[in-house]
Symmetry: C2
Subunit: 363 residues, 2 copies
């Protein structure tokens, strides 16, 4: 994407900003190349994104699209509305439709990563044509009807897949942080987006959860093949969790399709139940321990190609520095693996350990 | 489907009849309710289906559609052409297109279960409209965008999923045979079709491999929910294999979506490598032992809901009676489970063992 086509986003996160469903908003703000000029969430209006993500993200939270468009500097007015949530099932909240219509009528492109495709909506498509704006569905998957072929990785490549004890636990962030560390170490490194937010950030990729299930493994294989033309250190964004009652098929397609040399397990201390998943009886679905997860992922991956969990990445955002370091020590002792919070304490140490493991031929 | 809408099929299996890719033809002939009046395979022309499937299937194999239509009795002339193969990737073989066009021009409906949807083909659709015939794509999946909710099974139901050491190894047949035994025992029993052939046979179901991967688990859950309204003994047709490099995502979606009370493992003695899957290096992908498969399926299923492999169904078609019985004994000794070939020796014994296990609360 050339810089002159970059957009200025107002991110719609009504009622959700700062919470888990707004992980798309958070990811695009933290890692994306397009400028974010406003977040829309009437519940949080008047606050600033810097309160959540640090001083380098000076972005106002406003109550309405009108407010975002009324900013005095044109360079701080949005040119596009980005749907900033990733709800279960991927539908557009019904009361957001009026805001999308307003955006189109006021000349903004609309960018979405939801299953409910805006480009398939006749009313929105017609309106967009009338107003000369673009609708973008990042979740519309490349229509590749190829099953996995079992190709070998290019010699010299290291393929690392992030996996998790749950969905929405930081797998994308961990992959992006490790890629950053690999680049900082002077290596050629690639991030492979497999979900809507990663695609919005990176400008390529496929939402693997949108692919016809027969081609999930094959599409993952193909994404890695493409990445092997771009660099040697390949960080594949994981999805879901292997024991998640709703998303495990997506997770397994990525594992068996990408046949990683190593996996990095993402976990959030203190999370005890699968996110947003209560089950009909309301009992939810308890998370397994980190050790049980490691065993399960290695067993399942190994059914097709051997792969070790070579490191654990903890998301310690809710802990104090002291608590975070204690938890990292605890999990390191429990697992015998390199453990860190790469977002909080920087990814370099964890990547260095991962690199040693892989360059020593660990698999 | 009312009897007056039943079709008379000519099954197109050019170059494949009697071999694994023609499993759709074999399944529809063996278990379907529609009449099959001819099989088209020029390589085998002059033979009779009874040579493969026994005297109750007196169906000529002919070289061309023209021959099938030229039979003297109208009641033995086809009213529809059924695409009788299930190739990897699900494309229509290019040289079959002319036969499909001919069928439409001669007034036949065309029924397909391939990924390449005939109803999406503008030329075929236009031609069908001109000639007033129907095109049917059994693989076009119900567009249900619901993730699994974790619903509990209806009390009194027994949900049994067939799984396999490989794809194309008899999972559908085992489920159909066990359903037959349950009906014979006076129980209310349901077969849940999850693939194109099962749907052609049974008249309902969803090709789970066609579903958007995010909804694979949810669709499997929903199919079982529907089945629980139809009967107490529910036999879910399995797909693929959990260690199949290309299809494992589909397999796992079924396991975690249907949360079976028990699994029945299908295996073919003498098959050593995953069917039709050589890998780019030509080394193929070796099958694991029956014991390893049992451990793997129970581990993977148990990540969401505990489920035991309660029986093993062997496909001994290539063995003599003596060899078949010896192999059944051997696997029974090795696994400590009920083992039989339900197609060859009848399903009643295996079902009786499965029933005891489940009625005793085994899970």
């Amino acid at each position: 994407m050339a810089p002159d086509t970059w957009r200025r986003y107002a991110i719609l996160a009504e009622g959700a900003f700062g919470e888990l469903p707004s992980k798309t908003a958070m990811g695009v703000i933290s890692y994306g190349r397009d400028l974010v000029v406003a977040v829309i969430d009437s519940r949080q209006a008047g606050r600033n994104v810097s309160e959540w993500l640090g001083p380098e993200h000076d972005i106002p939270v406003v109550a309405t699209l009108g407010e975002a468009l009324a900013r005095p500097s044109v360079a701080r007015q949005p040119t596009a509305l980005l749907i900033g949530i990733a709800p279960q099932g991927g539908r557009i909240p019904p009361d957001w439709r009026a805001i999308i219509v307003e955006a189109i009528e006021r000349g903004l492109d609309v960018v979405s990563g939801l299953h409910e495709l805006i480009t398939d909506d006749p009313e929105l498509s017609a309106l967009a044509a009338t107003h000369g704006v673009e609708l973008v569905d990042h979740r519309r998957a490349t229509e590749r009807h190829e099953v996995a072929s079992g190709r070998a990785h290019r010699p010299g490549c290291h393929v690392i897949l992030t996996v998790g004890t749950d969905c929405a636990i930081g797998k994308m962030t961990v992959a992006l942080e490790l890629r950053k560390a690999a680049l900082a170490a002077g290596l050629s490194a690639v991030f492979v987006p497999t979900g809507q937010t990663g695609i919005m950030i990176e400008g390529w990729g496929v939402s693997i959860d949108r692919v016809i299930s027969d081609f999930a493994n094959g599409t993952a294989e193909w994404l890695v093949e493409r990445a092997e033309d771009m660099g040697d250190w390949i960080f594949v964004e994981g999805q879901g969790a292997i024991d998640h009652p709703a998303y495990s098929a997506v997770t397994l397609g990525l594992i068996h399709g990408s046949t990683p040399h190593a996996m990095v397990l993402a976990h959030q201390p203190g999370r005890h139940s699968h996110h947003g998943w209560e089950g009909q009886d309301g009992r939810g679905s308890p998370l397994k321990s980190v050790v049980e997860n490691i065993r399960l992922y290695e067993t399942v991956a190994g059914a097709v190609a051997p792969s070790k969990v070579a490191a654990v990445a903890l998301n310690t955002a809710h802990l104090s520095d002291h608590e975070a370091r204690a938890e990292i020590e605890r999990v390191a002792a429990e697992t015998g693996l390199p453990v860190d919070d790469p977002y909080r304490f920087g990814p370099d140490r964890l990547f260095a350990r991962l690199r040693s493991f892989l360059e020593a031929g660990g698999r």
